[in-house]
Structure formats: C-alpha cells, structure tokens
Amino acid sequence: MCGIVGLFLKDPALEPELGKLTEGMLATLSDRGPDSAGFAIYGEAKKNKTKLTLRAKTGAEMKATADRVAQALSDASIDLHDTHAVVSVEDRSVPRLLEWLAAEAPSIDVVGRGKRMTLFKEVGRPEKVAERFRLAGMRGTHAIGHTRMATESAVTTDGAHPYSTGKDQCLVHNGSLSNHNNIRRTLRREGFDFETENDTEVAAGYLSWKMREGLSLGDALKVSLDDLDGFYTFVVGTENGFGVLRDGIACKPAIMAETDRYVAFGSEYRALAGLPGIEDARVWEPEPSTVYFWER
C-alpha cells in the first residue's frame, strides 16, 4: 500500500515548523506503511559546502565513524542522528571524503548528497523513525517522506524510501513496477550499481540515467511513462521543490492541497488534515500521466 507525503513551503515563516508538520503527516500515514519510513529534508545551503548523509548499521557504529571522519577531514562538521550522520564539508573535499569512506569505513552507506538535501530512512513504525531522527526539530523549505508496506522486496533499511537519484534529488514511490528486473539489467549495462532487489531503486536509477543522457527531470519523468510498466505515484524532491507523477490508470491515490503558504501532497487527505489553514486550501487530485512541479 505505502504512503507518501510532500510539503513545499511558500511562506518562509513556516520554515522552522517544516520538520514538525512533516512528522505529523508521516505519523498519520503509518496505517498505510508500518514497515519502514524515510524522509528527505531540504535545509539551508552553505556557500561552497556539500552535505553528505551517511548511514551505519547502528548508532554506535555511526558515532565511532563520525569521530574518525572528524579526525580525517579537518573541515568536516558533523550532525549525528542515531544511525545517520550529516557530514558537511567543503565542496572540494567531497572526493577525499568519499575515498576515505570507501577505504576506511566500507560498511557505511552514503544515502544522500547535495547542497541542501539530507536524507534519513530506517526500519520501524514511521512515528518511531521520525522520533529517532529528531525530525520535529528540523527546518527547511520542503520535505518529502514515505511510509512503506513492503511488497516487492524485503523489509530492510535498504528497501526503505526515499532513494537518491542524484545531487539534491530523491524519489519516493507508491505502487509496484512489473518490469523492474528488465530495466535493472539495462541500467547495469549502462554502468549503474544496485544495492537491492527493490523496484523503486530501479525507478530512481532510471531517472538518473535519463538525466545523464541530457533530459531535464521533468522530461525524464515524461519518458518514464513509456518505459516503466506497473502502477505508481512518484514524488521527486529537487533542490528547489518537488514534482509529482501518476501513471495513466492512476489507481494509486494522490491528493494535493495548496494555500498561499504551502503546497502539500498526501496519499490520503488524512495526512493533510493537520496542516494550518487546510480548511480553506484548494484541494484536488493530480491528473494521470501529467507531470507537476512546484519550485521556488
């Protein structure tokens, strides 16, 4: 089943509340996906700095690794969140950090990378996952999140959404793809690595591939309608906003709400019911086979 949420703020006054509002939306959709949860938060960019979100198997492993990263890279500032850590370094230090991680901490995954995006995902009930990562205290301009009911691959952290599709880009998905094995084979020939048997990881890889070929994210989503078989609602996060796409049959639910202060996405209206001013919002369902974007 799965649940998706997205919140894009137009009003800067709401930015300190982004994490708290997103947490409420995720917790409501625990009923649609109690197996795991994840979210991407787009916070403040710092000049000449890149954020890498790292993930370890345990909080203790992350803490120990973070201490070693701090010793290895003098310009790294590290923010620990349980099994995850956000490492902010000078842009020019990114290759050095990645080399260090590959050599010195091979069990650590880099789950997200960008100027603004940080990305967290873990097994467990969504409200618990949000609490572990202290989502409520996070601020930013927009966020997307996912609650997973596993159908196509195992309940693991690797199978949790969002999947990063590139710098400051990530994807969440409700539905299932029926030709993901074929597309995974194509993408492997194109040089993409896959960590899981998960269909959403393939969709993320597919979008990365199309963008590598020169398409914009919007055009990559459009051509995905021809190549991806199955039923789905996608929400993609970008540095400046988020996009929404439903397949042509549109049986996976999607509802949007817009006010002067925000644009919100939910798999169900319930997820939006706690947002400020929802009573007066314009509420509608996105059309099938239509790419929507909100950016600022």
Partner: protein
C-alpha cells in the same frame, strides 16, 4: 439530536452506535464533527436516519448504505456510497475515485467533481455529478443512471451493460462498446425524474444532455471482437 465530535469520540464507537439503532429510533438526526478524512464513517447504516458530517471524509463513507440520508459537508475519499442499496448520499465537495461503485439503488449526488471510475460496475444506483467525472467512469455499468453536468474523461462506459449515461459536456473518449444514443422524450422524462429526486429540479434543462449506452456488441464472445475484450 446526537452530536458526535470525532476529534474526541473514537470512530468505531460512532459506527457501533449507528449500527445499534432500531428502525423506530427517536435519534433520527445525527451531526458529526471533525471527520478529518477518517475512513468508513457512517458505513453500513440500515435505518431511515439523517447523518450530517461537517468536513471532509476518507474512504468508503456511507458505504453499503440502506435507507439513511448522509450529507457530507466537504469532500469524500475513495468509494463514497459504494455498494449503496437505498437512501440518499450528498457530497457537497468533490469525490475521489470509485464514487458509488457497485451501487444497487438509492441516489448519490456530488456537487463538485468526481474522480476516475465514478459509478464503476453500478447495478441500479443513480448518480448525479454537478461537476465532471474522471477516466473509466461507468466501467461495466449494469443498471441505473449516471448524470454528469460537466465533462467525462477517457473511456466513458467501457464494457457497459444497461446503465444509462447522461452527459452535458464533452467526452474525452468513449470506452469499448459504448455509443451515443438518441435522446428521446422518454429519456428526458427519466432524466427529469432523477434530477427531481436529487433536488435539482428546474436547475438544468434535460434536453441539454446527450445519452450514451451499450452498443450490445460485446455481450457474447465473438472472435471478431477479441481485440476489444
């Protein structure tokens, strides 16, 4: 007149209370506050009461309704009034997909738009939508009337049986075996009668609608139609 606030009363307690009502109950008018998109509100009613819900509801609101009048002052999620047997369900806002699905009787009125698959497999229910309906509406519709003041999306009436479709606006495309049919006086009378029951008598001229129904070519398997199944 019982007033229930779903912000404080559990949904299950409300539905249990409604299900316990006897046909001769004196509690004939219920008011529900803060529905907040919860699912299956006032589903399975079988007594002639009125339930007013102030706000948006989630999935399957007033599903399986029998005899009751359910007024939703907001929008409705998937499957509002699905499998209705009799009674009246009125959505003041929009309805999500599969509104009135498989309904056997009664009347569903939607003042806004209805999403995809409105009236899918309807079996005798009458559905009046003042806005437009989405793709695959009246799919395999067997009996009853679907009345649409606005437009219809792709594949209207695909594989339709004997339901009657009245649409005033544009049709994006007709589904397999669904064709436009002449709008004779008997059909205008029938449409007038549905509008009257929906409380919309005099608001719109039945002769502005076009009628669609089954070409009856797919009822029995014929190899020439294999591509259309």
């Amino acid at each position: 007149m019982p007033e229930i606030d779903l912000g404080t009363t559990p949904l299950r307690a409300l539905n249990e209370a409604l299900h316990k009502l006897r046909p001769d109950t004196n509690e004939r008018h219920w008011i529900i506050g803060h529905p907040a998109g919860r699912h299956a509100i006032a589903a399975g009613l079988d007594v002639p009461i009125t339930v007013e819900i102030n706000g948006p509801v989630g999935y399957y609101c007033a599903g399986m309704n029998k005899l009751a009048t359910v007024l939703i002052r907001g929008s409705a999620g998937t499957g509002v009034a699905e499998n209705m047997v009799s009674g009246f369900v009125h959505v003041a806002g929009d309805a999500s997909q599969s509104a009135g699905a498989t309904g056997r009787g009664g009347l569903l009125r939607i003042d806004g738009n209805a999403s995809s698959r409105c009236g899918i497999s309807m079996k005798g229910i009458d559905i009046v939508v003042k806005g437009s309906v989405g793709h695959f509406s009246a799919f395999m519709a067997q009996a009853g009337n679907l009345v649409v003041f606005g437009d219809a999306g792709d594949a209207l009436g695909d594989s339709i049986y004997e339901a009657r479709l009245f649409v005033r606006g544009n049709i994006k495309s007709l589904g397999a075996d669904c064709i436009e049919k002449p709008m004779r006086d008997e059909h205008k009378h029938a449409l007038h009668e549905v509008l009257d029951r929906a409380g919309l008598n005099g608001q719109i001229d039945p002769s502005e609608f076009k009628r669609y129904g089954s070409a009856r070519k797919l009822y029995n398997f014929h190899v020439d139609n294999a591509g259309a199944y």
